[in-house]
């Protein structure tokens, strides 16, 4: 398993989306999120986009007010994960048109559906935006 979790956190440290690929209890999640968000938010633009935390490696990227954090195993290609984050953002952008924090907040389930298409079992399984968005668009049409 490569990806352990995906977190979206705004610059105040508030969680905007959380998807875990291994089970953690509510307390563990809360503690983990607190720790890594503190760690990542304290870093400057020039520093690496990667942070080691316990046995995870956090790859993060900032878009305006929103941080995307991905926790991965140690042997993962960090640069690729960094670009994967961007792919997620591009995909959201295509769906929401100029995605912003509020889009994700108002359509939390849609954002989750996209991630469900892209990542399964902790692996990146789909990277074609068309393939990711088609089922979501079909579902929107059907309902």
């Amino acid at each position: 398993m490569a990806i352990r979790f995906i977190l979206l956190v705004n610059k105040q440290g508030q969680t905007r989306l959380a998807q875990y690929y291994e089970y953690l209890t509510l307390e563990e999640r809360r503690a983990l999120e607190g720790e890594i968000v503190r760690k990542c938010l304290a870093r400057t633009e020039q520093q690496c986009s990667f942070v080691e935390h316990r046995n995870y490696k956090i790859v993060y990227r900032r878009y305006a007010s929103l941080f995307f954090l991905v926790g991965v195993d140690n042997d993962e290609n960090e640069l690729a994960i960094l670009e994967f984050i961007h792919l997620v953002v591009e995909t959201m952008d295509r769906h929401f048109r100029n995605v912003c924090e509020l889009d994700i907040m108002f359509h939390l389930e849609t954002a989750h559906f996209m991630l469900e298409e892209m990542v399964m079992n902790g692996c990146i399984v789909e990277t074609s935006k068309t393939n990711i968005l088609t089922p979501i668009q079909l579902m929107d049409k059907a309902s």
């Binding site: 520093q47 074609s128 579902m139």
Partner: protein, 959 residues
């Protein structure tokens, strides 16, 4: 945007999201959520909540959990929503369930039925939603309930369903490998799926499978290479492109797989060289994703059987990473360097300054990565600098997780490469001081043993010097306020054994210090046990040489305190000490011989000394002892009875031990026996002498340690000894190469004297903050200077100065080597089997697989007509020299078709990379470039240094 407050969302929901969004503190957010929980509890329980409304409630529940509060009151509603007929509601239900529940939750059983029904649905989107849920919710016990359906769906007409079915199977494999072991072949089948999405997803389970069992998948090497080639040639649909790179994430996954399959396998690696070369050439160093692929390529190249040409490309890419301004790229570069130096340690030399920049960077991530690199390149010549740096860093951080890691690395490096005993002890002191509670106890035991055993040579003078220096340093350290318990134990033990050995310190001084330790750590029983035993040893040594021991008042009060301790162990030690003080010198010497910690303790496992006692008892009618393994085979009743008897006898044993001078035979482990003589010692000293001769060697350890420490001595036997004489180091366990090992042994004695010198140099250089670059250069020299094994044999006085020289002097030589290896690399291009032939489905002897799984894929992926036509031409003329000739005659033609024909592209891009060097060279060397290259190569193989050729080559180029 415009999506804000879309249809179906109530004002309540909008207000909630807004208020969460506007919350300025965690406390405020918590207040909002608590209020929301109240509202939801009421609303959700209302009868006949409209379904759409319920969906909204579920999402509000998701918010509640996401923000760290318990929403378990609503779980059941999420489960109910999965029954809904509407796709959107159903999927939201599944989503909420997967977010709320883990796969072992009780409610899951209620969903299995729904999942089974949905897997049979006619609507493929519902099937997909169910399969997504399967991946998250099905546990080992419920796998059989859905497995047949999932397998059936592998052949579904919709590619999206096939993809998710593959992943569901993957999940089952992750969860319980045995449950799907008979279905593994399905993954191979799906690798050849018509749809690139299914193929790409199948790489994930295959990667896991290959990681477990590489050899079973060697046959797929050709397939993976072929897929990678097609991906790199943009045969996948455009939608997979990302920033102009063709399906980079699939490429990366494939490269990871190839790295596994090619590791240590020359033949498998041979198939990969061409495509890896292609990827290096096609890489786009300007984009992040291009560099990500490039990095994965470097990883792959450093994992598979080495190929000089590819290694060179990897080194080049790595140096570009390291020279970049981006911290991310530097980070990747450091990591890549760590991989490449495993193949060739000299590569690091060129980048020493970049590495040191990273080491001194304020960015913690970069620093740690660099420490990882240094750890990999440590050897006896640079161990002092590296370990010093690590310890400095260890001091500066608070993160216990990483502190533990770096401390254990320091210990490992120190044990493996220490240049001298003194240095080792000093280093261990530092590690213990700053991370004592984090390191393994074993480390402390190793340290004690080292001090006791010394060099393991016949040089007693050096050994005692080592001990007194250890005593000195420990007496200094004892003044410091907070010392970890493990470290204090070591200190007490050493002070007890060797505190007064060299006569520098008086017994009362050491005893006073030990009493201070016991007083300062009154809550730590283990430390107190160590101190009292140490005091006893010192007293014993004093008595043995005929001096009178006057107990200090604080010592007496310590003994009194411990005699009344709750810990029986401490009590016994205190009483033993008191008893020992009353003995005469002869008795004391045999009870507590001086410096006897290294004496072997002979353990008579058969307890033969008890034979007479056993015989006696048997004559009196006792039953013979039945070994445990024989007992276990008996029936229940017999078992019970013998157990009862065994228990009874062990009880009687205990009582006897206090009454009789001789212990009765304990049926279990010998450890029980060993402490017994010491108890005898106390009440009946006269009787013990004859018997003690038998036990004498046992006593020191039996008395100076609790049962825990007892294990210490014994445990050491199994511990591998890396430190010290080269004979101790085992060749298999260490990560360093064998050449380093021997070098370590060779420089061992020299290093002892040089150590302080180089260290001084290092610190001196640190003082001169003004000359930053000079300082860095020095550090670089101390880290990298003696990177080659031969340089380690240098004599010490010259050790320092020449360090900087070879680094600069060697650079041209390295360059020469690089350029010299260029011609043969080109030669290998045409000689490797053209994998493109595979695409055409023409069976060629060069390509091994008789069945081409990609014919199918070929038909469906991208436009194949144009490339195949050109491929044909290359296939028609398999004599590569002809092709080459064609190329040299008409380079522009090759340019135009370069993107289409990979063979030609190969040659073309190689030339482009080397700036036409070889082109010019070829013209100078003669018409037949191929011939001259071959000559070059053979000359090199014979051993002729090619350096003479290359400067002229460059001159040609430049002039």
């Amino acid at each position: 945007m415009g999506s804000q407050g879309g249809w179906g969302q109530s004002k309540e929901f909008l207000d909630l999201v807004k208020s969460i969004g506007e919350a300025r503190s965690k406390a405020e957010e918590d207040r909002i959520i608590l209020r929301e929980i109240d509202t939801l509890k009421r609303r959700i329980a209302e009868p006949d909540v409209p379904r759409r409304k319920m969906k909204e409630y579920l999402i509000r529940l998701v918010y509640v959990e996401m923000l760290g509060h318990d929403a378990s009151f609503g779980y059941i509603h999420a489960v109910k929503m999965t029954h809904d007929d509407s796709l959107l509601l159903k999927r939201t239900g599944y989503l909420a369930v997967t977010l709320f529940l883990n796969e072992d939750h009780d409610l899951i059983i209620l969903i299995v039925n729904t999942i089974q029904k949905d897997l049979r649905s006619d609507n493929y989107l519902i099937v997909c939603a169910a399969l997504t849920a399967v991946c998250k919710l099905i546990n080992e016990e419920t796998i059989p309930a859905v497995l047949p359906q999932v397998v059936e769906l592998l052949g579904h007409s919709k590619e999206a369903v096939r993809k998710k079915a593959v992943l569901a199977l993957h999940r089952f494999y992750q969860r319980a490998p045995n449950s799907v072991s008979h279905l593994i072949s399905n993954f191979r089948k799906r690798l050849c799926d018509n749809d690139p999405g299914v193929m790409g997803a199948t790489l994930c389970p295959l990667f896991d499978l290959i990681k477990e069992d590489i050899n079973s998948y060697k046959d797929l090497v050709v397939s993976f290479v072929s897929i990678l080639k097609q991906v790199a040639e943009r045969r996948l649909p455009k939608t997979y492109d990302y920033h102009q790179m063709p399906a980079p994430f699939i490429q990366i996954k494939l490269l990871k797989i190839l790295a596994l399959l090619g590791s240590g396998d020359k033949q498998a690696s041979g198939h990969m060289y061409t495509i890896l070369g292609d990827i290096f050439r096609k890489s786009e160093p300007s984009s992040n994703i291009g560099n990500a692929v490039l990095y994965e390529c470097i990883c792959c190249v450093s994992s598979i059987f080495p190929n000089p040409k590819l290694l060179e490309a990897a080194v080049e890419a790595t140096s570009r990473f390291l020279k970049s301004d981006s911290h991310n790229l530097k980070y990747m570069g450091i990591d890549a360097l760590g991989r490449l130096i495993k193949i060739n340690p000299d590569i690091a030399e060129e980048h020493q300054l970049a590495v040191i920049d990273c080491l001194e960077d304020p960015d913690d991530t970069l620093k740690r990565k660099t420490f990882e690199l240094l750890y990999k390149m440590t050897k006896s010549s640079n161990v002092e600098v590296i370990v010093d740096r690590m310890i400095d860093y260890m001091r500066s951080i608070n993160d216990n997780h990483y502190k533990t890691e770096i401390a254990s690395r320091c210990v490992e490096l120190a044990e493996q490469f220490a240049p001298s005993n003194q240095w080792f002890i000093q280093t261990m002191n530092k590690v213990f001081e700053h991370a004592g509670d984090l390191v393994n106890v074993r480390v402390a035991h190793n340290l004690m043993r080292l001090i006791a055993e010394g060099f393991g040579e016949d040089d007693e003078g050096a050994d005692s010097q080592l001990r007194s220096s250890a005593v000195d340093s420990y007496l200094c350290i004892l003044g410091e306020p907070k010392l970890p318990s493990v470290f204090l134990q070591v200190i007490c033990w050493v002070l007890g054994e060797y505190g007064t050995t060299d006569g520098k310190y008086s017994a009362s001084y050491i005893i006073g210090k030990l009493c201070d330790v016991a007083e300062a750590h009154s809550t730590d029983d283990t430390v107190k046990a160590y101190t009292i035993s140490a005091i006893m040893k010192i007293c014993a040594f004093e008595i043995a040489v005929g001096r009178k021991v006057e107990l200090l008042p604080e010592c007496q009060s310590l003994i009194d305190e411990l005699s009344a301790s709750h810990s029986t162990d401490l009590q016994q030690r205190a009483y033993e000490l008191q008893a020992l003080l009353g003995l005469d010198s002869q008795a004391v010497e045999s009870v507590m011989p001086s410096d006897a910690s290294c004496e072997d303790i002979e353990i008579d496992k058969n307890l033969s000394f008890l034979d007479s006692f056993v015989n006696q008892s048997m004559e009196k009618g006792a039953r013979p002892y039945i070994p445990e393994n024989e007992r276990s085979g008996m029936f229940n009743i017999g078992n019970f009875r013998s157990q009862y008897q065994h228990e009874a006898s062990s009880h009687s044993l205990r009582f006897e031990a206090y009454e009789l001078p001789k212990p009765s035979p304990p049926p279990t482990i010998p450890q029980v026996v060993l402490p017994l003589p010491t108890t005898d010692l106390v009440p009946v000293p006269e009787q013990t002498y004859p018997r003690e001769t038998h036990h004498a060697p046992n006593l020191p350890s039996a008395t100076d340690a609790s049962s825990v420490d007892f294990g210490v001595k014994l445990r050491l036997e199994g511990v591998q000894r890396k430190w010290g004489r080269p004979t101790y180091s085992s060749p298999s366990a260490s990560s360093s190469s064998s050449t380093q090992k021997t070098a370590n042994g060779a420089t061992h004695l020299d290093g002892r004297t040089v150590s302080s010198q180089t260290r001084d140099n290092f610190y001196d250089s640190r003082k001169q903050q003004a000359e930053v670059s000079a300082e860095k250069q020095k550090l670089a020299a101390s880290l990298f200077g003696a990177s080659t094994a031969k340089s380690e044999k240098r004599q010490l006085p010259t050790h320092k100065t020449p360090k900087g020289v070879p680094t600069t002097a060697e650079k041209p030589a390295v360059k020469g080597a690089i350029s010299s290896s260029e011609p043969p690399k080109e030669k290998t291009v045409p000689s490797s089997p053209p994998p493109d032939l595979l695409d055409l489905g023409e069976p060629t002897p060069a390509s091994t697989p008789s069945i081409d799984p990609f014919k199918q894929l070929e038909g469906l992926l991208g436009p194949t007509s144009a490339p195949s036509a050109i491929d044909h031409s290359s296939a028609a003329g398999p004599k590569t020299p002809d092709l080459m000739a064609l190329y040299t005659d008409t380079p522009p033609a090759a340019v135009s078709s370069g993107s289409l024909n990979p063979e030609l592209a190969d040659i073309y891009t190689v030339n482009k990379n080397s700036h036409g060097t070889t082109n010019v060279a070829a013209m100078n060397k003669g018409q037949n470039r191929q011939d001259s290259l071959q000559k070059d190569a053979t000359a090199r193989q014979v051993g002729v240094t090619p350096t003479e050729n290359n400067p002229s080559l460059f001159r040609d180029l430049l002039g």
